[in-house]
Subunit: 256 residues, 2 copies
C-alpha cells in the first residue's frame, strides 16, 4: 500500500516504522513541525511536508494521527484525494470524516507508544471501523499485515475502550511515578519495585482484578492507612491515597 | 530450619509452601480460624493449632505473618521459646518485639500474594532487619535458601517501601478493576486490555515512569477529558479520573 501519514507523534512514528518494515511504502509524512516530520520521514524512506496542501493525491491510504482538537481543521484543509482516509483516535467518531471524504475508516491500535521504544505489533488488538463493508474488508486485510488481531468495533464502544486505556495504562503509569518519587526520597532504586509491578500485571491474566486485590484498603485497615498518610508529604499524593483506598474498600464490600 | 508459622494468610501460605518445597520443616501453623490453620498445615506436612499457648517452644524460627493490629496481642500471648522471632509486616517496626523476645528480626518479601497463585520467590527482593549482626546473618543465610535478593533495610525505609507497594500494586490493581467494570458495561472481554497492561509494566523496565507517561492528561486535553468524564456514570470513578488527570498534568509541568 502507498500510504501518507498526517502526524508524526508517538503512534504515527511507531505505526509508520512498522508498516515500512512490512514492505508498505510511506509516500509522505506531514507535521506542523518540520523537525518531527523530517525525523519520521527519514526513518521510513519518506518525504517530509509541513504544508497540508502539498499532500500527494494518489495514495491508497491517508492515516490521520493527530490530536483530536486539530483533526477536523486538517480534514478541512486537505486537497481532494483518491484512497481511504483513516484516523487513529480512540475518542473521535467515524462520522468526523463525513463531509470531507467518502471512503473513510478508523484504525485504533490499543497500545501505549513512545518514540524511544519499539513494540511488538503482532499482539496488539487493532480496532477497526469503516463507512462500508468494502472499506472494512480493505482495512482488515491491511491491518492483518502487521497484527494478528483486527477487531471491528463501533465508535461508541471505541470511546469506552479508550477510557479503559486511560485507567489501565496512563493512570497506572502515574502511580508508578508516585512510587518512584517516594523511593527517591529514601534513596532507594526504582528497580526493587519491578518484580511487584510485573506480578501485579501477570496476576490479572489469571484472576479477575477484583479477585486479585490485596492490601490494607480492602479491609480498610486504619492502622496502616493512617501510618501511610502520615508518610506522604505531597498533598496531591495524600488525596490520591485516600480516594483510592476508599474506592477499593467500597468495591470490595459490594463484591463480597 | 524448624519453623513455626503464626498466621495462615496469603503471605504465610505462599512463604510456608516455598520453604517446605526447599526442605525446611514447618512444625506448626497457628491461625485463629481452624479452617485456615488446617488448610495451610495440610499442604506443608504440618500441624494446625488455634491456641497460641500450644506453640512448640523448641523451633529455630517463629514467623509472625498476621494483621498489624493483632501482632502485638499475639506476641504478648506467646510462650517463652528458643530461636528467632520474625514478622513479615512492611509497616511494623523491628522494635515491636522489644519486650517479648530477645532474638528478633523482620523479613519482608516485597511481592503481592494470593493463595490461588504460585509466585517465583527467587526473584523477589526480601528486605531483612534484625536486632544483632549475628541474627541478621542468620536471616540472610536463611532467606538465600529461597531468594537471590536478601537486602538489609531499616524499619524507617521499609515503611516507605510498603507505601510504594500500595501505589504500584494495590492501587494499580484497583485501576485494572475500574477498567474491567467499564468494559463489562460494554460487553467487552477484559482480555483485550492485557497487551496494554503488560506493555505499561514492561515500559518502566527501560524508561522512568515520568518519561513513559502518555495520554490526554499530560497536555490536559480538555476535549478528551470531558468526553471521558461524561462516559463515567460512577461518581467515585469520575472523582478518581479528575484527580489522577490533574496530578499527571501537574507532575508533567514540573518535570518539563
Amino acid at each position: 500500500m502507498k500510504i501518507v501519514f498526517i502526524g508524526a507523534g508517538n503512534l504515527a512514528t511507531n505505526l509508520a516504522r512498522e508498516l515500512y518494515s512490512k514492505g508498505h511504502q510511506i509516500l509522505q509524512v506531514y507535521s506542523r513541525t518540520e523537525e518531527s516530520a523530517k525525523a519520521l520521514a527519514k526513518s521510513v524512506g519518506s518525504m517530509a511536508i509541513t504544508n497540508i496542501a502539498q499532500t500527494e493525491t494518489g495514495a491508497d491510504l491517508y492515516v490521520f494521527s493527530v490530536k483530536d482538537s486539530v483533526l477536523e481543521q486538517l480534514l478541512a484543509q486537505m486537497p481532494t484525494t483518491s484512497g481511504l482516509w483513516v484516523h487513529t483516535a480512540g475518542s473521535m467518531p467515524l462520522s468526523v470524516f463525513g463531509k470531507y471524504h467518502d471512503d473513510h475508516g478508523v484504525i485504533y491500535p490499543f497500545q501505549t507508544f513512545s518514540k524511544e521504544r519499539k513494540v511488538d505489533f503482532s499482539e496488539i488488538p487493532v480496532f477497526i471501523e469503516a463507512n462500508s463493508d468494502k472499506n472494512l474488508e480493505l482495512l482488515e486485510n491491511w491491518v492483518k499485515t502487521f497484527s494478528r488481531k483486527a477487531i471491528p468495533l463501533s465508535s461508541e464502544k471505541r470511546k469506552h475502550i479508550h477510557l479503559c486505556g486511560v485507567f489501565a495504562c496512563n493512570f497506572v503509569n502515574h502511580l508508578y511515578a508516585v512510587a518512584e518519587d517516594i523511593l527517591a526520597s529514601q534513596d532507594i532504586q526504582f528497580d526493587v519495585l519491578l518484580p511487584l509491578i510485573d506480578e501485579t500485571a501477570r496476576k490479572v491474566h489469571e484472576l479477575s482484578p477484583k479477585d486479585a486485590q490485596t492490601g490494607p484498603a480492602i479491609r480498610y485497615d486504619e492502622n496502616v492507612i493512617n501510618k501511610h498518610l502520615s508518610l506522604l508529604a505531597n498533598g496531591n499524593q495524600k488525596l490520591l491515597y485516600e480516594l483510592l483506598s476508599k474506592n477499593i474498600h467500597e468495591t470490595n464490600k459490594t463484591n463480597k
